[in-house]
Structure formats: structure tokens, C-alpha cells
């Protein structure tokens, strides 16, 4: 049983005109076997939240806490966070020329598992996980993400999740850029992993279509750097019909009432 607790998280980025606050007090708790969806307009800070949890150096936490089972995540280096059981499927996976996918996966599995997986077993495991996600075995010899299409990159993010077996996974727009068939395959990949583990999932998305495959327990509306409202799956349906207007209006009026 694991719990990721985000408490009053404030995060800044450095800009040409000085630091700019992006997250303005995020409160969110995700536990094992739960799936939380985060929906919110472009630029509201969803990826910032995801990267801050993973420890991207671009983001500076100015206030608040991130705890994994009570342990201070913000004190951990990026790789320590991953080894502690956090995983981020990135919105824009990075290309690493010259490093083969198979070498990368094996290095990552060795690091997160604490020992090198037995070769024969590992080869089978990777093959199986790749075929579950309809990934051509030839990708194993290609450089990490290099020249992959958008959808291929997303499949490989889910592949990594399946192999690294995190306790808490943040999926940042893993559904964007997928065609209908790929969406089904990737969703099945996520659901298979949910079924065989206790993973807690934070699913960032713009579309309810993925929520038809991956059923959320909770839905959070993310506006202007914080959670504006939380509810059950029905909240997603409301957003689908009415958009974010109701929440952005609130956000605007709050801003007007309390000028910073």
C-alpha cells in the first residue's frame, strides 16, 4: 500500500523577466489501486506538476511538500525518486541518440530493481511486454525515441512503466497523438498493469475518450496552477459538455477579488 501526498505545492520556473509561479498550492493524494484523472486547460500547469513530482531541474519548489509513504520526495534526486517507485510517462519523451532501447531498458530495470535481471528471463519479459503493446521487436535496436512517431513514443512510455513496475505512475497526456487503435492498445497496457499490481495512477488528459478505457476513481479539474474542483467520473462528463468556462471564470474572479 503506497500513498503519494502533494500538499500546498508551489512551483516556479525561471523566465527572462524573473521567476514565474506556475503551481499555486496544489493539494492531491493518490493511493495504491486508485486512478485519478487530472483535466485542465492548456498552460494550467499540469505538466509542471508532473515534472515537479519527477524532479525536473527546470522547476523550483518554493513551498509545500511531496511525500511518498511519508518520505520526502523533494529531498530525493531524480533517479532516487524513480527507484523509490515513482514513474512519469512524459508528454514529450526525449530522444537519446546512440543509446539503444534495449540497453536503456536493461539499465533502467537494473537500477530500479536493484540487480540486473537474468538475461534469458529478461529477454522474454521485454518481448512479451513489447508484443502486448503492439511494438515491433525491431525497436529494441533503435536509439531511444529517436525518430519515433508521436504515437510510438507514447507506447514506449507505457512499455517502460510495464517493465519498471512503479508504485505510483503519472501519465502526462499519454493518450495525445494516438490513433483509435493505438489508444485501445495503450489503454489495455495500462489496465493490464493495474490488474497485476497495486499501482496508483495520476492520469493527465484533455479527453474523456481515454477515460472510457481507463476508468478513473476521481477526477480533478486543474486551473491556474491548482486543483479547482474534485469529483467522481461524472465531473469528466460535465467538462466534456461545458468545457472549463465555469472554472476559469471562478479562477478569474478569485484573482480579481484578491489581487496579488
Amino acid at each position: 500500500m503506497s500513498t503519494l501526498e502533494i500538499r500546498d505545492l508551489h512551483v516556479e520556473v525561471e523566465t527572462e523577466s524573473g521567476p514565474k509561479e506556475i503551481l499555486r498550492g496544489v493539494d492531491l493524494t493518490v493511493s495504491s489501486n486508485e486512478t485519478h484523472a487530472i483535466m485542465g486547460p492548456n498552460g494550467s500547469g499540469k505538466s509542471t506538476l508532473a515534472y515537479s513530482i519527477a524532479g525536473h531541474p527546470k522547476y523550483t519548489v518554493t513551498k509545500g511538500q511531496v511525500l511518498l509513504d511519508g518520505e520526502d520526495v523533494l529531498e530525493m534526486a531524480v533517479d532516487e525518486r524513480a527507484r523509490a517507485g515513482l514513474f512519469l510517462a512524459m508528454q514529450y519523451p526525449v530522444e537519446v541518440p546512440g543509446v539503444s532501447m534495449s540497453n536503456f531498458l536493461r539499465s533502467a530495470a537494473t537500477a530500479t530493481r536493484g540487480e540486473a535481471p537474468k538475461v534469458r528471463h529478461w529477454v522474454k519479459e521485454v518481448k512479451g511486454a513489447m508484443s502486448d503493446l503492439d511494438i515491433d521487436p525491431a525497436f529494441a535496436e533503435r536509439s531511444v525515441n529517436e525518430g519515433f512517431s508521436g504515437g510510438e513514443k507514447k507506447r514506449h512510455e507505457v512499455l517502460q512503466m510495464a517493465l519498471l513496475k512503479p508504485r505510483i505512475a503519472v501519465l502526462d497526456e499519454t493518450d495525445s497523438g494516438l490513433d483509435v487503435d493505438a489508444l485501445r492498445v495503450v489503454s489495455k497496457g495500462v489496465n493490464d498493469y493495474k490488474a497485476t499490481s497495486d499501482v496508483g495512477i495520476l492520469l493527465i488528459t484533455h479527453y474523456t475518450r481515454i477515460l472510457r478505457y481507463i476508468a478513473p476513481d476521481r477526477v480533478h479539474v486543474f486551473v491556474n496552477g491548482r486543483v479547482a474542483e474534485s469529483g467522481g467520473p461524472e465531473l469528466a462528463e460535465e467538462l466534456e459538455t461545458n468545457g472549463y468556462e465555469r472554472f476559469t471564470d471562478t479562477a478569474e474572479s478569485t484573482k480579481e477579488e484578491q489581487p496579488a
Partner: protein, 420 residues
């Protein structure tokens, strides 16, 4: 790090953070330099006196710290040593003496008529070595050697504190084939000419390794002569030495020549590694590909690691159907290192298949590092993966497995030095 193909011909980049520790002329401005190496005026001669003593402002010498050449450039060096040359079949521990008559090693005098088949000196140090050398090593291959049996030519320096001139000619006769490791080691100060004479239809794959001891200074001109339908793949690897300056020139002799020049260099603090390439497309329907990759790190005794890469490609009026592309990429592993990169493409005819160049110098890509670490890979290992990946393209092409292993191990060892 992203490749930014230079928009115009010529130009280049100089990356010099931490300028305080540089020992090169801070007034250098590569981007705004006038046309580099005016071809019509390019001077070649066997006679050292026909070259002026370089003062450091000349286009050819402006990047080279002349005071570290120990008098090779101005005639003040006194020759008190000799290089050692051994030629063996195979590579590494399993190498054996040459047998049979298909491949032979001779030592001849400077008036041997074959000398100069590769090319003519184009700078004063090369001409000095040419005029002064007393012994010429000629290695001739007159057979199609199997890939499994590379030739290893080991050149050993004269020893610390000693100076030597060197002349080596590697000849592949018509339709001969060979994989050659040209391994440079040891100490001392050396000025050298190396000729690669590849006759019609012959195929040479040569890896030239400069793995000198810390004290060594090596200034060498490589003269590559490419016969009709001949193929050369030349990989230049520079790992060690105080100062290593290499000037390969490609001379096409007939149509159909196909040349790939790859390079790998890894400079630490205090080291100056310089590569000046000239691919002279004077003949129609020849091809050239250039891919040099360098990594730099650190400073020592107040001197930052410094690499220079000049890639001159000339397509002359007669060279219709030319197909050329050149690329140089540098990876700065620490801030206090300096990489100069100047690709230069001069085109005198429009009737070509293709011509392009690119040059990029960048720091470690933090996004790549983050991505690997976000999967649990510790930082040091992530950095090693990225650097190995950076050089991978060059190393993968080396066809001698034991040499590939050695190069990989050398890169690992370099990375250990700064604890990357």
C-alpha cells in the same frame, strides 16, 4: 544538443566559456573571418624554405599554440631520435609477423621514386619533415586481405625529450584490399608525413589512432590519394598527447573515388587537438562523407581542453557529379573547455549531386540526462550512456572488434578522470 546546419558556406563557431583559462589568442573571430584558405593561393611544395616561418596570425596556424611545437615550425628543433615502425598481421595479442609476399614492409631512402604519390606538403612543418627525414617506411599491399586479418602498423615516438621526423607510406596496389590499424604511441616530438596511396579499384579501411603519452607533440600531414573507383574509409582517433595536429588532404586522381572520413577525439585539460581537413574535389563523380565527433573536458595547469576542427571541402569547376557531406559535433562535458569548429564548403560548379555541411557544439543535454535518470539510472551511468551514444556512430563503423573494445574502454577511462 541539436545540429544546426550552417546556413552559408564558411563560417563556424567558437565556444569558449571560461575564457580566462585559455591560452589561445582571444581575438579570434571565426564567424566573421574572410574566406578561408584561398584555393588559388594554396601553396604546396617539398621545399621547406618555400614556406615562411609561421608567426601565428596565418589562417593555417591561427589556432595552434606555436610555442608548444618545440621548434618544429621554425627550424630550431634538433633531431636526436627516430621513430619505431613495426608491421604485423592481426591486431592485439594475436598479431603475428608478416608472411607471404602479398604485403611487405620496406625501409627506403628519401629519394625513393614512390615518395610523393600521396600528395605534396602544404605547410611548413610537413615540408620540414619531408626535406629532413632520412628513412621512409613503405608498406605495400598487393592482395585482397581478409577483414579478419587486419594489418597493424605501430609507430612509436622517439621517447620523452627527443625529436624525430617520420615518413610512412601505405600503398594499396590495384584492387588490393586491407583493413589497417595505424597505431601511434609513445613519447617525444614528431613531425610526420603519412601517405595513403590507394590505386584503382582498391579498398582501404584504416583506423589511425593517436594514443600518445602526455608529453608527446605530433604534427602530421596525411596525404590520401584516391584512384579510379577506389574506396577509402579513414577513421582518425585522437586520445592522447600534449598537442596533436593532423592535416589530412584528399586527392582524387580519377572518377569514382569514394572516401569516408570519420573522426573521434577526446581532449582533457591542457591538451590541444587540432584537425584540419581538406577534401579537394578536382575530379568528376567522386564522393566524400566526413563525420568527426569530439568530446572535451576540464582544464589543467591553467589551460583548458581545446579542440580545433577545420573542414574544408572544395568542389572545383571540373568536379561535376560530386556528392559530399561533412559534419562535426562537439560535446563539452565541462564548462571550461573550448571547441572551435569551422566547416567550409566552396563550390565552383552547380552540376553536383549534393553538398552539405553541419557543425554543432553543445553542452551535455540536460533533458537527456533527466530522461535517463527519471527511469532510475544513476547520474554517472546516465552520462556515460549519453557519451557512449554520442561516439557510437563512429565506433560502430570500426571493423576490428578488439580495437572497438579498446576505444570504448579508452572513452570509459576518460570519463573516470573527471568522475563523469
Amino acid at each position: 544538443m541539436t545540429d544546426t546546419p550552417a546556413a552559408s558556406t564558411g563560417g563556424g563557431s567558437t565556444t569558449a566559456p571560461g575564457a580566462a583559462v585559455l591560452d589561445v589568442d582571444p581575438g579570434i573571430k571565426t564567424a566573421s573571418s574572410p574566406k578561408i584558405a584561398p584555393w588559388e593561393e594554396r601553396h604546396t611544395s617539398y621545399d621547406v624554405e618555400s614556406f615562411e616561418v609561421p608567426r601565428g596570425r596565418e589562417e593555417q596556424w591561427r589556432f595552434t599554440p606555436l610555442r608548444r611545437l618545440r621548434g618544429l615550425h621554425d627550424g630550431s628543433a634538433s633531431i636526436d631520435g627516430a621513430i619505431g615502425v613495426s608491421v604485423r598481421a592481426g591486431f592485439g595479442d594475436s598479431a603475428t609477423d608478416l608472411t607471404g609476399s602479398g604485403t611487405r614492409h620496406e625501409t627506403v631512402g628519401p629519394d625513393d621514386p614512390r615518395r610523393g604519390d600521396g600528395g605534396i606538403p602544404a605547410d611548413r612543418v610537413a615540408a620540414q619533415a619531408w626535406s629532413s627525414v632520412e628513412q621512409v617506411h613503405v608498406v605495400t599491399v598487393n592482395e585482397a586481405r581478409s577483414d579478419d586479418e587486419p594489418l597493424t602498423i605501430t609507430v612509436t615516438g622517439p621517447g620523452a625529450g627527443s625529436t624525430a621526423y617520420a615518413h610512412l607510406q601505405l600503398r594499396l596496389e590495384r584492387h588490393a584490399e586491407a583493413v589497417v590499424v595505424l597505431d601511434h604511441r609513445g613519447s617525444g616530438t614528431i613531425a610526420a608525413n603519412t601517405e595513403f596511396v590507394v590505386a584503382d579499384g582498391a579498398k582501404l579501411e584504416v583506423v589511425e589512432v593517436h594514443d600518445w603519452a602526455d608529453d608527446a607533440v605530433y604534427v602530421g600531414a596525411q596525404h590520401l590519394s584516391v584512384g579510379r573507383d577506389a574506396t577509402i574509409r579513414h577513421t582518425s582517433v585522437t586520445l592522447g598527447g600534449d598537442l596533436v595536429r593532423l592535416s589530412p588532404v584528399i586527392n582524387y586522381r580519377a572518377p569514382g573515388g569514394d572516401v569516408e572520413l570519420d573522426g573521434l577525439y577526446f581532449a582533457d585539460g591542457g591538451q590541444h587537438f587540432e584537425q584540419r581537413l581538406l577534401v579537394d574535389h578536382s575530379i568528376p563523380h567522386c564522393r566524400s562523407r566526413v563525420m568527426y565527433k569530439g568530446a572535451l573536458q576540464g582544464a589543467e595547469r591553467g589551460t583548458a581542453a581545446h579542440t580545433v576542427w577545420i573542414g574544408d571541402v572544395l568542389i572545383r569547376k571540373a568536379a561535376e557529379g560530386t556528392d559530399t557531406y561533412e559534419l562535426n559535433r562537439n560535446l563539452l562535458l565541462t564548462d571550461n573547455a573550448r571547441a572551435d569548429s569551422v566547416p567550409n564548403l566552396e563550390i565552383e560548379t552547380g552540376e553536383i549531386l549534393g553538398a552539405g555541411h553541419a557543425s554543432a557544439t553543445g553542452r551535455f543535454d540536460d533533458e537527456q540526462l533527466f530522461y535517463l535518470m527519471a527511469r532510475g539510472i544513476p547520474e554517472a551511468q546516465a552520462r556515460r550512456l549519453v557519451v557512449r551514444g554520442f561516439f557510437g556512430e563512429v565506433i560502430q563503423k570500426v571493423r576490428v572488434p578488439a580495437l572497438r573494445d579498446r576505444l570504448e574502454a579508452a572513452i570509459e577511462a576518460e570519463l573516470e578522470v573527471v568522475g563523469v
